[in-house]
């Protein structure tokens, strides 16, 4: 590690002072450190200042329901998000996605905001966040900006975070109509492996959507406009045609985890499975529109 200074501000105002005083490339924030410290160790990241966001009196860890949305404060660990009853009831796909991140040890430190801000092309919570139209709250001295996760992540390791801003929370609008969701992921082994691909399917009345991850420079959403995938009576052939149309929008690359063609083929297979599960859960009414009594 290259030497750096460490600061532990006690409030957002103090944190803004530190961020604004630093040159943009010289400062990094830390929550769980599960990406940052790996980067520091390898020398790929060499900031002059590391600002710890875990001790801001006006930004404690926690999950709250505000104006029809679940708001997850930046310092909240994935473990606490996974355990939260409201999150479990309304966002089971996010719980499944977060539960695949690393290991118990990693999830005890890692944050959801950090997972987003790090913007790895394979970050696992991406597809569940996209399917639920999650928003990142970006706070600076000037106030808050709310940006959908889909727009916030610009590409590999690149986000719309501006100098002087802190991602203070992630907001997930509570579903207002019943929907069935399913997260699916392909890895070479279970536990501590990055996704070869990941996806999330959501089926609601008359509409099915998928979010795909690790098959393009950034995660993205596709929608089945035909309605076939929301129709429980549709035949397997029609469904597959609709799924093929959606998965054809992926642009996978070949890397150490898988080849391009394999990724494309598996995207269809996993989409088919996730869709079946999401459709079934929609029709079983497994996910209740009213939070707190589902799941």
């Amino acid at each position: 590690m290259r030497p750096f200074a460490y600061a532990r501000p006690g409030s957002l105002a103090e944190a803004f002072d530190l961020l604004e005083d630093a040159e943009p490339g010289d400062v990094r924030m830390i929550v769980g450190g599960t990406d940052l410290i790996v980067g520091l160790q390898s020398g790929k990241i060499a900031p002059r200042l590391v600002v710890d966001l875990k001790h801001l009196a006006d930004l404690p860890a926690g999950i709250a329901e505000i104006d029809g949305a679940i708001s997850i404060a930046a310092p909240t660990s994935l473990t606490d998000i996974i355990a939260d009853e409201r999150v479990r009831a309304s966002f089971p796909a996010l719980v499944d996605a977060a539960s695949t991140v690393g290991s118990v040890q990693i999830r005890n430190r890692a944050s959801l905001t950090g997972n987003i801000c790090n913007a790895s092309p394979a970050f696992d919570t991406a597809t569940a966040l996209l399917i639920h139209d999650a928003v990142v709250v970006l706070t600076s001295r000037a106030g808050n900006r709310r940006v959908p996760v889909a727009d916030f992540v610009l590409g590999p390791r690149s986000t719309d975070l501006r100098h002087g801003e802190i991602a203070t929370a992630v907001e997930l609008p509570l579903p207002t109509a019943p929907m069935g969701t399913k997260f699916a992921r392909l890895t070479r082994r279970r536990g501590v492996d990055l996704a070869t691909l990941s996806l999330c399917c959501a089926v609601g009345a008359g509409r099915a959507r998928f979010a795909f991850g690790a098959v393009a420079p950034r995660p993205f959403v596709v929608t089945d406009e035909s309605g076939v995938l929301a129709d429980p009576e549709a035949g397997a052939h029609d469904r597959d045609r609709a799924l093929l149309e959606l998965t054809a929008q992926a642009r996978p690359i070949s890397d150490l985890r898988a080849g391009r063609d394999y990724r494309q083929a598996m995207l269809l297979v996993l989409s088919r499975r996730a869709h079946e599960a999401a459709l079934a859960s929609f029709h079983d009414g497994a996910l209740n529109a009213t939070p707190l009594n589902g799941g």
Binding site: Y6, T34, V38, V104, Q105, N108, V192
Partner: protein
């Protein structure tokens, strides 16, 4: 810049004061400043779990915590299990099932298993495997390790 910062931590129940550099990890501080060499360094990037310690009740990779971040934390290392030179029931179960081969991964395994048992005193084999998914053993003793955790779970006051 190579500034050091004062850090107060509680380690295995005792308050300790340290002067650490920002580039030190909690694992470095435990091993080199406090001479607690039970926690092992292997990958130094969160993959293997050999450095697992408890922060409060939770298992974390000490290689992925900066020593300066640890200020104020309550940490338990493998040296903090058991009492008066006796092994804890969990440590004893590892011996009984023959889970310990070269031993390098074991302190991390035991701490991850202890965190699991603190939260879930009667885990299923699947729970144990998930709880230990972040811990690698290159002597491939996984089955006996899982057996050890299940044995301790059945035994008195794990």
């Amino acid at each position: 810049m190579s500034d050091t910062s004062p850090v107060q931590v509680t380690v295995n129940g005792a308050a300790r004061s340290l002067d650490v550099s920002t580039t030190e990890t909690l694992l470095d501080a435990l091993r080199w400043d406090l001479d607690l060499t039970g926690s092992k360094e292997c990958c130094a990037e969160g993959e293997c779990g050999a450095c697992t310690v408890l922060v409060g009740d939770r298992a974390v990779n000490a290689c992925l915590v900066l020593a300066v971040e640890a200020d104020g934390l309550d940490i338990t290392t493998i040296e903090g299990l058991g009492a008066g030179g006796d092994l804890s029931p969990l440590q004893d179960a590892f011996l009984q099932t023959g889970a310990i081969q070269c031993g390098f991964c074991i302190p991390g395994m035991v701490m991850a298993a202890q965190a699991l048992l603190n939260e879930n005193p009667s885990p299923t084999p699947a729970d144990v495997r998930e709880g230990l998914a972040g811990n690698l053993c290159r002597c491939a003793g996984y089955q006996r390790i899982v057996d050890a955790v299940l044995l301790a779970a059945e035994g008195p006051a794990a």
